[in-house]
């Protein structure tokens, strides 16, 4: 009776015990050694169903963080003071903008006219070719010889210097967020 009293008076703690059944032993990885084939097949079917269920879930877009501004940039102390421009200066600037607009409009018009001319000449040449021979016309319209995939890089401000040795180094490219598995721990 006294023992029982002590037992009930003590705070109840979970009793730890090791199970000898296959699925209850600690961790899934450690218990694959002695599983009977039937059980394995059942496990495989369950996993297949789980994989099917997960693969039916819709894909989520990776968020575009291009325009995220850090909060430290939005402090009032960082704001520039307002510039005071005289009327003359303002007039000059407005007139310059108008001249620029006129110039760009003219150049844009010329360029679009050039492209239209090119297309027109191309169309005419194709018509003439068709009159010559149908085979050649069909061959000219094929999509196979076009340069796809194509890369083009923008121009550089200055030409490369003669005899210049750039410093040794390299470029390291990181993957965008959420595109790869990030569960690996960082190197210590």
């Amino acid at each position: 009776m006294a023992l029982k009293k002590i037992f009930f008076a003590l705070p109840v703690c979970s009793s730890r015990w090791i199970s000898t059944s296959y699925s209850r032993s600690a961790g899934f990885q450690g218990s694959k050694a002695n599983i009977p084939l039937e059980m394995k097949l059942r496990m495989i079917e369950r996993k297949k169903r789980r994989v099917e269920k997960l693969s039916k879930q819709p894909l989520a877009f990776i968020p575009i963080t291009d325009f995220f501004i850090p909060y430290s940039w939005k402090m009032d102390e960082r704001a520039r003071p307002k510039l005071e421009i005289s009327e003359e200066e303002e007039d000059k600037r407005v007139l310059l903008e108008k001249e620029w607009a006129r110039k760009t409009f003219r150049s844009r018009k010329q360029e679009s006219w050039k492209i239209k001319l090119l297309l027109r000449h191309q169309q005419r040449a194709l018509e003439e070719l068709r009159q010559e021979s149908e085979k050649l016309y069909n061959a000219a319209l094929q999509c196979e010889d076009l340069s796809i995939p194509f890369t083009c890089r923008g121009p550089v401000q200055s030409t490369p210097l003669e005899g210049y040795l750039p410093p040794l180094g390299g470029y390291e490219h990181t993957d965008p967020l959420f595109s790869k598995d990030d569960l690996s721990l960082p190197e210590v």
């Binding site: 994989v51 121009p155 410093p167 595109s179």
Partner: protein
């Protein structure tokens, strides 16, 4: 409506002092009749496509990206990338406007997630590996994509020429066919699915 009728209306309105009626006032509305709005042309809405079902978000449908007509190109991706976001955006806008001007079938214009390019310098002999070098500057590479379908094969070189002429500094333009890999690069990596698949593979191997 005869001329005398219109004159009559003008006179009446002048005398009453109200505003002048429209001269072609022969359109009477008959709102209770089924022929109401019979000649209406403004304010018409285009039929909207059915909303994308949740299950089908992100699925790869190759039929959507194939050319409909003969001698026309399949869905092409014009990828504008660079580290200067202002230039990238402006050039992408230029490419888009050019496609609109030449009446191409633009499927989508979107941004890909940005990645970082770290420029590293080797300062000493013990920094031979890329990991060990000291980083000088970290630049974010921005990407914009303009997806165009059914481009005739004869206009493609002309448009390419104009794009090459106007490409700004530090920008790379890449033209590629749209495939499943590029399609899936917009979406998040599914960690759970990959783990479950790995476990399934382990089970298969241990049989």
């Amino acid at each position: 409506m005869s001329l005398s009728c219109t004159w009559h209306l003008w006179e009446k309105s002048f005398r009453v002092g109200k505003c002048l009626p429209a001269i072609s006032n022969s359109l009477r509305h008959y709102r209770n009749r089924p022929t109401h709005n019979i000649g209406r042309m403004h304010g018409l809405e285009k039929p909207k496509p059915p909303p994308v079902r949740k299950k089908e978000v992100g699925t790869w449908k190759p039929e959507e990206y194939k050319a409909v007509k003969e001698n026309h190109l399949d869905a092409l991706n014009f990828i504008v990338s660079g580290y200067d976001i202002v230039l990238v955006e402006q050039y992408a806008k230029f490419v888009h406007q050019l496609m609109i001007k030449f009446k191409q079938n633009i499927l989508e214009v979107y941004a890909l997630p940005s990645s970082n390019a770290v420029v590293k310098k080797m300062l000493g002999a013990d920094q031979r590996l890329l990991k060990a070098m000291t980083p000088e500057i970290e630049l974010t590479m921005y990407k914009r994509i303009i997806q165009v379908k059914d481009m005739p094969s004869q206009t493609y070189p002309i448009l390419l020429q104009t794009l090459m002429h106007y490409i700004p500094q530090s920008i790379t333009l890449k033209v590629d066919k749209h495939n499943e890999e590029q399609h899936l690069s917009r979406y998040q990596y599914r960690v759970e699915l990959a783990e479950e698949k790995a476990m399934l593979q382990q089970l298969y191997d241990s049989r």
